[in-house]
């Protein structure tokens, strides 16, 4: 087995049985990447004959294993975080995926992922209701309320992406990354 696949497998085996990741759905692709999704929310998608509502994941983490970096012979991995925007904040567009924001980060440790999940569970509880609002946004509500709720969502998004951004910066300075990446 390739060392990168082996390392990814160890991550998955640890996360899947960790109580913090209860209900989070794990799947692995043939190419050795993994997908973790949780917090399922209703999303309306325009189809040829009308609107179709599905429960889709609001938060997705993809873990990609990249080949060894030729320069320093280190394992390189990439963690990609996707956050879906609540339907009520997406106006006048048929392409709902357009407003799903995602960024990728390198040098994330397993323990960072566990901490992220903990933080995310806590924060998402505060904004979950935004995903369950009627679409289009209730016109009776004032613009101020709309803006306040939108700010809440942006703050949530910022703290989630910011978490990985900080971890990436801190970990990049660590010398023993190879070991950490496997063991977390």
């Amino acid at each position: 087995m390739k060392p990168t696949t082996d390392a990814l497998n160890k991550w998955l085996q640890t996360m899947l049985i960790n109580p913090l990741f209860a209900h989070a759905r794990f799947s692995k692709s043939n190419s050795g990447d993994a997908h973790i999704e949780w917090e399922f929310i209703p999303r309306t998608v325009k189809k040829s004959t009308g609107y179709n509502t599905s429960m889709v994941p609001a938060l997705i983490i993809n873990i990609f294993n990249l080949k060894k970096n030729a320069k320093d012979d280190k394992f390189v991995h990439k963690v990609l975080l996707t956050i879906k925007t609540p339907d009520m904040f997406i106006a006048n567009t048929d392409n709902y995926d357009r407003d799903d924001e995602y960024y990728s980060y390198f040098n994330i440790h397993l323990k960072d992922l566990v901490r992220f999940k903990e933080l995310c569970d806590e924060q998402f509880d505060k904004i979950r209701h935004l995903y369950f609002k009627d679409v289009p946004y209730e016109p009776a509500k004032s613009k101020e309320v709309y803006c306040k709720e939108y700010r809440e969502f942006l703050m949530f998004k910022e703290s989630m992406f910011g978490f990985f951004y900080n971890c990436e910066k801190i970990n990049a300075k660590l010398k023993d990354l190879k070991k950490d990446f496997v063991k977390g």
């Binding site: 497998n9 998955l12 085996q13 899947l16 049985i17 109580p19 990741f21 209860a22 209900h23 989070a24 759905r25 794990f26 799947s27 692995k28 692709s29 043939n30 999704e37 209703p42 189809k47 040829s48 004959t49 009308g50 609107y51 179709n52 509502t53 599905s54 429960m55």
Partner: protein
């Protein structure tokens, strides 16, 4: 950690990295249960009144101590394609529990399921969930406006309905057969963890 939880975790550690389970969402609901979604399809939800991408075949894994012995329980459920449900409303979903299934049985079962689900023939299990009906007009690729009553619809698709029942019987029989065979073996306790 309880031996049941530890045994379930051992199964999951093997399953999550096994190729046969690639692309299948796997999750633990609580320390004692785990879920595996084998396949999804766009199906009409009588709850939301919309078409939803839902799991049509699902496995729940649990391990319990029965008479002082660790016993695994595999619950398999298979949903009937929406179009056929109106023919037999009481048969929307078949769900059964099986004991003494080894990890090897489970892996072989998943391979068998995927062969049926994704075969290249026109009558793969997946294709049976995409037959146009009055609920999913416009969602299926070969869209044809649904005309006439359900009787006509059913007459047109009797072959597919029979095919579905045949697939379903094969899948449930697989577990039933292996459950019986394994229950006679002495070393099942060992097998069920190691496969």
């Amino acid at each position: 950690m309880k031996p049941q939880v530890s045994a379930l975790n051992d199964w999951l550690k093997t399953i999550i990295v096994h190729k046969s389970f690639n692309y299948m969402p796997i999750y633990k609901c609580n320390p004692h249960y785990a879920n595996i979604h084998l396949g999804t399809a766009q199906q009409y939800s009588y709850v939301s009144k919309h078409y939803e991408n839902t799991s049509i075949a699902n496995i729940v894994l649990a391990i319990e101590e029965i008479n002082g012995k660790l016993t695994n329980i595999v619950r398999f459920s298979l949903t009937m394609p929406t179009g056929f449900v109106e023919y037999n409303a009481g048969d929307k979903c078949r769900c059964e529990d099986f004991t003494n299934i080894t990890l090897k049985n489970l892996i072989d079962f998943v391979d068998l399921f995927m062969k049926m689900y994704r075969n290249t023939d026109r009558d793969s299990l997946y294709s049976l969930y995409n037959i146009p009906n009055h609920n999913n007009m416009g969602f299926a690729q070969d869209y044809k406006p649904f005309k006439g009553g359900f009787e006509k619809y059913f007459k047109d698709h009797q072959k597919e309905y029979d095919k579905f029942l045949e697939y379903r019987e094969i899948l449930f029989s697989y577990f039933e057969k292996n459950s019986k065979i394994n229950s006679k073996r002495k070393s099942i306790n060992n097998d069920f963890v190691k496969g």
